[in-house]
Symmetry: C2
Subunit: 331 residues, 2 copies
């Protein structure tokens, strides 16, 4: 196996976040479940947008956020995702490229715009996502640069990619290429609703041994295992993957690798402004450490540091110097 | 004269701000003058954007910011400006409308996109603007709703509107309509470079008695008067307008009305994050007070409160509840 050119290549939905403040009663009126992500069509996107407060637009998307986080830590990151040839697509490419991420997937004109997620942030800092997938759902397997996959020490895929059929096939193909090249495959379960939608598919991937590193939060690992208890869920899943990473919000995070296990507390933060991207940046820190040969505990610490930075401001991409925040851990 | 339906109708360039952090050495390398605004063409916009850090997009434009500020204080505000039928134009209309501002100018398709200003924010919180005017420079006089102007207690115009010929004529027409209806005309000098570009035109407006309320900062009033001394500049200009408002950053602000004069200190702020919009929000507070029958001093206080809020976060539109911050002054 040749030396990897990239540490991590992430593959996911290329989404611009449209972030606005909202009250809890607004969520209630709109019938929205806090902290969840729902897919919406163009009509619902327009309707909801008309009700929303003034917004800011920042590039997002789980896998894109993770790639930006890895680059901010000093890692070599790439991203694969589909944008349209429009203003949002231009923003998206600019922001990733300016963050130091390799993003070469060509824009695709199939008559739908670049994806956007209307993210409602309540006063408690929690976010509720309403995603119009647009061009992102048209990522074809043919858009993959298979050499780029073979050149990456690990690929990282988001569960959300499973929602539409076209990128699902692209994801399955990417896993095949990575595994054939002896590379690691990392996967995040994305959210509990996503697990409900795709339980069989996810279980096939995991039970089939096609996932090396699995990321989940507390609710997700329990939903996947089908048990309402954290430790039981961990025990049920840890044997099916090489490495299992479970994030627990303000309660910290843990990881298992074979019989090994490490737990870390959350990093203290001054104020939680917007939790969007917390899981994505945790994955960034962990993967940066893991592919750099750090221990489980050190990798978890890197995840906690990156996640703590991103929840202290609006938007899901790092704004502070993550490399400096990580200090010797990122050296 | 009938009762006004709107307190203030602002007319200006409809611009989406593309905000990124930058170092002082980046400004130097790019040959940019801190705190200034320069107009750039599509080619330079693309070149600079490729060098810029990851950005956030928020609706801006001086007059739009002022209208949003007035609405946030509880005033009745309208905005006139030109956007294109594109994603940025959609953002722009959404944000103003969601802020409670009447914005009915139709989008115009002349093959150029909605304006954007690439705003570089240095660690000291100061901003340097690079504006691609796009559709904004195509605002025709025919797009004015003259009844809307007659229905507004005051109109507020930005000096930047003088840059391209088409909106310059729209502005002159708006002044005619407002004056014929006995309404007040307010005007901001925008920046010193703008004054250098249009000294004759601005002097004709002011000397011709077509401006009732003139807004300037310290550098601008001195540039207009052609004297390097604040009090001399104020004395030279105050007799030419009914009301003169001069903002002085952290040194506060002052206003004159005939022989009357009031001075107020700046509001204390915890941290200056981004000074973009400070002058626009000061104008919002002052105009809200002024059209509501407040004293010079009270109106200045409202300006100071609104400006203090906007410099404590990125972006030039208020995020906190300005009406609450202003307390009894906004009652």
């Amino acid at each position: 196996m040749t030396e990897a050119r990239l540490d991590v290549l992430t593959i996911g939905n290329a989404i611009v976040d449209v972030i606005a403040d909202a009250t809890d009663s607004f969520l209630e009126t709109e019938g929205l479940t806090k902290n969840s992500m729902r897919l919406i069509d163009a009509e619902e996107a327009e309707r909801l947008y008309a009700h929303m407060a003034p917004a800011r637009e920042v590039s997002g998307g789980c896998a894109g956020n993770t790639a930006a986080g890895i680059a901010a830590l000093g890692g070599r990151a790439g991203f694969v995702g589909q944008v349209a040839p429009d203003q949002l697509g231009t923003f998206y490419r600019h922001d990733l490229t300016a963050a130091g991420v390799e993003f070469t997937t060509p824009a695709l004109d199939v008559g739908v715009p670049t994806a956007r997620s209307m993210i409602l942030v309540t006063p408690d800092g929690h976010r509720t996502m309403n995603t119009f997938l647009g061009a992102a759902q048209h990522l074809p397997a043919s858009a993959l640069d298979e050499q780029q996959i073979r050149d990456s020490a690990a690929i990282y895929l988001e569960g959300y990619l499973w929602d539409p059929e076209t990128p699902r096939y692209a994801m399955i193909r990417a896993i095949e290429v990575a595994r054939a090249a002896g590379r690691k495959v990392a996967f995040t379960l994305s959210d509990t609703f996503c697990i409900e939608r795709h339980r069989d598919g996810f279980n096939q991937l995991i039970d089939g041994g096609r996932i090396d590193i699995l990321f989940a939060n507390e609710a997700e690992i329990q939903a996947l295992a089908g048990v309402p208890h954290l430790e039981s869920a961990i025990e049920a899943v840890r044997g099916k993957v090489q490495t299992l990473v479970v994030t627990r919000g303000e309660k910290g995070a843990l990881a298992t690798h074979g019989s090994e296990r490490a737990d870390v507390p959350a990093e203290p933060v001054a104020e939680v402004v917007d939790t969007t991207g917390a899981g994505d940046l945790f994955a960034a820190g962990f993967l940066f450490g893991y592919t750099g040969g750090k221990s489980l505990k050190q990798s978890l610490r890197l995840g906690a540091i990156a996640a703590a930075e991103v929840i202290q401001h609006y938007g899901a991409r790092p704004e502070a110097d993550l490399k400096a925040l990580a200090g010797e851990l990122a050296a």
